[in-house]
Symmetry: C2
Subunit: 202 residues, 2 copies
DNA sequence: TACATTTGCTAACGCTGTTAAATTATTTCA
DNA sequence: TGAAATAATTTAACAGCGTTAGCAAATGTA
């Protein structure tokens, strides 16, 4: 029965439209303006229909979060491919993370809870861990073998993440610093941490 | 007429009770659970009364934000007093910032938009700038005179802020890393930035 | 054509922030 | 003290929210 497939395809399409419409609304009016009825309007249905595709509003946010992590992982892999030297790879990957945050601002917001209230973050789906694992592994690769303990890698990983995510958060909530300062802070910080990583502290 | 004063005192008291009740609700049930009717219940009034004291819900959040900055400034001043050496003062001030974020978690959340949706942040009241100015000035004090440009201070200030705020945000949204790793990341980062600040890069 | 199933909508519930009107309490003044 | 004016609070309502139940229309199946 090809009709079953066709119907399934239509359902998938609607599901996709819901996600697209949601993201579009958020891009136009922000996360606070996202409502089930507004999504329904955009896909030319009524609100209860959405519950055929997502169990509730939070499930939509969770799915958008997942999509965000998939896109981020892609961009980070691409950044990695551009270099051969692990240190350059790592820096390039963090830069990809940085660029993603602003190119896909709304996705980053729902992924990391910047300026969006709900979304409990409890359900740790594996897609969420791909980007962090990539960075973690790359850091491990760079750290000299005799210092390469899990804890030490953790520390460096969180240091990287903190400074990058912190700078992003600051830029997203209060828009203070200039682009030039952002660039400087970011490259300074990345270089600084890399330096502290590769040079043995005796 | 002392009765006028008495009435004013009662009004101030109620205003204060609204803020206290709001913070209490948030501490018990989180920012999402804060509603005008719930606040009214707690102060044993009905919801519209609150509008006699605050123009809307956002105004309550804004005032709590202001209170947060006042408390933070106090704690940072205290941290500064504990040391004589500027470098130790700066590190102590950042540590105070860090401690404040977790001791007054709910205030920090509304101040820096971690896990709370509304609060536009537009109205830049002067109280908000006290803590950042304190840190900025202290950084300026430490940086060698021949490098002490506004831009350079900005870069160092944002680097500090990013790593500290980033680490806090990460801890508040996903609670991953252990306390030991947090301590390490924080002290590593602070020392690292201080080092990069005082040593001239030729 | 008759039945079964899917599809979508309407209406409703309880919640939200907010406002206008009505009610109650308090003060003022003759 | 009693009436009028003012202030303090409440009730009722509006529009919106997420969500669910029940009904109507369209579709598929026999």
């Amino acid at each position: 029965m090809g009709s079953k497939d066709r119907i399934q395809r239509l359902k998938d399409e609607t599901r996709c439209k819901i996600l697209d419409a949601s993201l579009a609304i958020v891009k136009e009016e922000g996360w606070a303006a996202l409502s089930m009825r507004k999504i329904a309007d955009k896909i030319e249905y009524t609100a209860p229909i959405i519950y055929e595709y997502f169990s509730n509003k939070d499930a939509i946010l969770t799915e958008l979060t997942r999509i965000g992590y998939l896109k981020l992982a892609e961009q980070m892999k691409e950044a990695e491919r551009k270099h051969a030297d692990p240190i350059e790879q790592l820096k390039s990957m963090w830069l990809a993370y940085w660029n993603f945050a602003f190119e896909e601002k709304e996705l980053y917001q729902v992924m990391y809870g910047v300026e969006v209230n709900c979304c409990v973050m409890e359900n740790a789906c594996p897609d969420m861990q791909v980007p962090s694992n990539m960075l973690w592994d790359k850091i491990a690769e760079i750290i000299p073998e005799d210092m390469r303990t899990d804890e030490y890698i953790d520390i460096k990983y969180y240091t990287f993440w903190s400074v990058v995510h912190g700078l992003i958060s600051i830029n997203m909530t209060n828009r203070l610093s200039t682009d030039e300062i952002n660039r400087q802070v970011l490259s300074d910080a990345l270089n600084g941490i890399v330096a502290s990583m590769t040079v043995r502290t005796t």
